[in-house]
């Protein structure tokens, strides 16, 4: 506890172990076993549907996933025994389901297999999870690296500008055959930075200036940071043509700013800036403009005789799924073509598992986010609270932006569905997020006397 920074003066005093909370590690183990079994079942269902036999690698696949999950579980049991028992199983289940879907789509593209690489990346992700849980004994250590985090994040964000654009977006770097999206790692670093920065400066930011109607606008002096973040977001958007990521950063910052200061004025300012940026970019950037046109008229290309575009194909896939889905391995979501395993992975889930399936997936994400918020609520010190809320919001916003995009709710922006989508950087990052949430929830519940926190 003494490692805590100056802002953590309210850290809990050590409490005697009189009425400690139950650790619930057994529940976690049972849920992990369930998650692994569900994934293996999905894997087998694909094989049965496609070839009428169990896929040859079913046992190995199940064993691999099981061992990974068990190692992660052991790490939690060892170093974060009070952690929320739902976080890890949700991560395992989503990752397992993602692997099943990617394996299933690989059957349609025999020349381009993504599942083995994704399995390797998942292993790396779990390894990172274990490392974080083992080595990061207290999340407050991260507060020391506030500015290291932001510099690293900005470097990671700007790095891909030096590399050639891939499919209209400069978000990849290619090294030795591997594509890495540094922006994914930058997300976690930025959350850490936001949390630390806001935890340190929340009082100053909470000063209010003029009052317009019911909104208390912040004073001009503290507008600096939000404008800076806005500029970075717009910069990301223009330089990398990555609408989703810039939306995500900005939304995240506004949410954290509101949570930290409790001033609705920040939301007003945020929305204003976002609207300004959106209108300007929508007008100026043809890339973004066409996305909005496609969103408004997804079937215009069909009527023009040019065939269905990706969004239309995605909508067709969801529609084909209906309530209960076509069954794993029995859909035709490969018609979406490019990015079917990454950005559009949810369409495969929607077609083959139906509304029931993606409803379940959404609820899993919802549960993950909810556990994150709970961890934040249970925390006593602001950095931990903001970190947990920030990470949970990151997942929530990301899911909303991409899932809303592929289902036609909002304009489509390229972004990885957490855990499900193909993409190594994304999987590794998501495991890091879960690891940090495990760490925060462990520290929250460890320090509890069992009365005011759940």
């Amino acid at each position: 506890m003494s490692k805590a920074g100056s802002t953590v003066a309210t850290a809990d005093p050590p409490t005697p172990a009189v009425s400690r909370l139950p650790r619930r590690r057994g529940i976690e183990l049972a849920l992990i076993v369930l998650a692994v079994l569900l994934s293996v079942y999905g894997y087998c269902a694909v094989g049965l549907a496609r070839h009428g036999t169990l896929p040859p690698g079913a046992a190995g696949y199940g064993a691999g996933l099981g061992v990974l999950a068990l190692l992660a579980h052991l790490a939690v049991r060892l170093r974060a025994p009070y952690a929320d028992p739902l976080l890890l199983p949700i991560g395992v289940l989503l990752n397992g389901l993602g692997l099943v879907l990617i394996y299933r789509l690989d059957l349609e593209t025999p020349g381009d297999r993504a599942a083995p690489a994704q399995l390797v990346w998942s292993t790396l992700g779990v390894a990172l999870f274990i490392l974080v849980v083992l080595l990061l004994r207290d999340h407050r250590v991260l507060q020391r690296y506030t500015y290291v985090c932001v510099v690293a994040a900005l470097v990671l964000l700007t790095l891909p500008i030096l590399f050639p654009a891939v499919n209209g977006a400069r978000i990849w770097i290619r090294i030795a055959g591997f594509s890495i999206q540094p922006g994914e790692f930058a997300k976690v670093l930025l959350v850490v930075f936001f949390a630390a920065y806001l935890a340190a400066n929340r009082n100053a930011l909470a000063y209010t200036g003029r009052r317009v109607w019911k909104l208390q606008l912040p004073t001009g002096r503290v507008l600096g940071p939000i404008v800076a973040v806005w500029l970075v977001s717009v910069g990301v958007l223009i330089l990398e043509r990555d609408l989703g990521t810039s939306l995500l950063f900005f939304g995240l910052f506004v949410v954290l700013l509101y949570v930290a200061t409790g001033r609705t004025g920040w939301i007003a300012v945020g929305l204003l800036l976002a609207a300004l940026g959106a209108v300007a970019v929508g007008r100026l950037e043809p890339h973004v403009h066409s996305r909005i046109e496609t969103w408004l008229h997804p079937f215009a290309s069909i009527e023009a005789g040019e065939g269905a575009n990706q969004l239309a194909q995605s909508l067709f896939a969801f529609a084909e799924g209906g309530l209960l889905g076509a069954g794993l391995g029995l859909g035709h979501s490969y018609l979406i073509g490019f990015a079917v395993k990454s950005d559009f992975i949810l369409a495969t889930a929607g077609e083959e598992l139906g509304l029931a399936g993606i409803g379940a997936v959404f609820l899993l994400y919802g549960l993950l986010v909810e556990r994150g918020f709970r961890a934040g609520l249970a925390q006593r010190e602001p950095f931990g609270r903001l970190l947990a809320v920030g990470l949970a919001s990151l997942v929530a916003l990301q899911v909303f932006v991409i899932a809303g995009g592929v289902t036609g709710l909002i304009p489509l922006t390229g972004m990885a569905m957490p855990f499900l989508a193909q993409g190594g950087s994304s999987v590794v990052t998501n495991w890091a997020i879960v690891a940090l949430l495990v760490r925060v929830s462990d520290s929250a519940r460890r320090g509890c006397d069992g009365q005011d926190a759940r």
Partner: protein
Amino acid sequence: MTRHIRHAGYFCVLLLVALLLNAARVQVVQAPSYDRNPGNRRPDITRYEQPRGDILVGGRRVTGSRDTREHLRYERTYTDGPLYAPVTGFASQLYGTTLLESTEDGVLSGADPMLAPFPLWNDFTRARNAGGDVVTTLHPAAQEAAFKGLAGRKGAVAALEPSTGRILALVSAPSYDPQPLSGNGSAAARAWARLNADKDRPMLNRAVRQTYPPGSTFKVVTAAAALDTGVVTDLEAPTDSPDPYRLPGTRTRLTNASKGCADASLREAFTLSCNTVFAKLGVEVGVPDMTATAYALGFGNGGLRIPFPVARSTFDTTLDKAQLALSSIGQYNTRATPLQMAMVAAAVANGGQVRDPYLVERTTRPGGGTLAAAGSRAVRQAMYPSTAVRLRAMMRDVVENGGGRNAAIRGAKVGGKTGTAQHGLGNSGTPYAWFVSWAQGDRDLAARVAVAVVVEDAEARRGDISGGGDAAPIARAVMRAVLKSP
């Protein structure tokens, strides 16, 4: 801060609810319209994902499926494409389906809910049944005989089993191979363009979709009406008809191709195919009774399905006497499909009873179990049985002593009627050669086959065209093929 975290949490709940509602909108509310969107290829992919059921002729499959390993996986193949094209039609991934491929598509493609093991089962499991088979009534030897007989000359043959209405042969020439149309590549598009540009119109099913003036073969109908109404009571009695015959109310004089028609008896007039006698008889019968007999035999019926639709054969009901006279010898507005004329011959052979023709014996499940069988068809008594007996005798006279000698078969009773139909402006077109007939083996209880043959034969010189010369040998070959089989 706790309160604001909760607010942020509510915001996330809002996002979640929005996602769920929108997913329900796309997957449930909008799903039917998305499924029907022309840009959605799923219906096609599902349809061609499995081999199509087959069409069977005489216990043998005349269709097949080829696995192309493309997105639209299975393509239709045909073992004897041109021979059976007027029955099977084509099943194209680009141009849809026709004829049996179209009317039996539900069974063949597996979409028919009757193929499911239980009602609503497939709606729940989303399984698609394997395609069922369609067993036709065709007689392969008769079909081949008709196809060979036409030998590519423009024309058509329809053959029926008179007692049931089963269609034994249905040939249209020139024919085409439907297989090149099956796929979805540029080859299919080229074949489609070529077939549609062909001035001989090979994709026209002349046996059921084309009507011709029936000419003298229509005299069977006129004779039936005359006997039924009592205009003629004695076949051997003179009919008191002049030669030439002046069409009532006009100065036009109708003549005959053969001599001996003046005042001929009905039997003689039928054998000699006297236009004058039948024109006069038609006028004496009158429009209502002529119409009644023609309609009872199937004329005027636009709704006949075998199961694909048959063009309406026409007998005009708003006629003055001169028009009636011409209509009664199968000219003016009288037009018939070859199938219709086969029905006329079948009615005579079957004691005056008409049964609607049909082509599908039964449909079967993939395992062979019967899905649906052709029940017995409704019967219409188109003429008195006594009339039918007398017409049978007259038609046998044609084959034994008249213009139908080319249709005679040893060891069988054969009745027929020739026809040479004028058409075109001022009868300038190459006439159509007709022959309608029926045959009953000496040991058979009832007539086994009734045939109608029409040969357009634009190639031949005008004088050579006659029902007895061009069409009768084809009819004979078809009837022999049927009689030879046990």
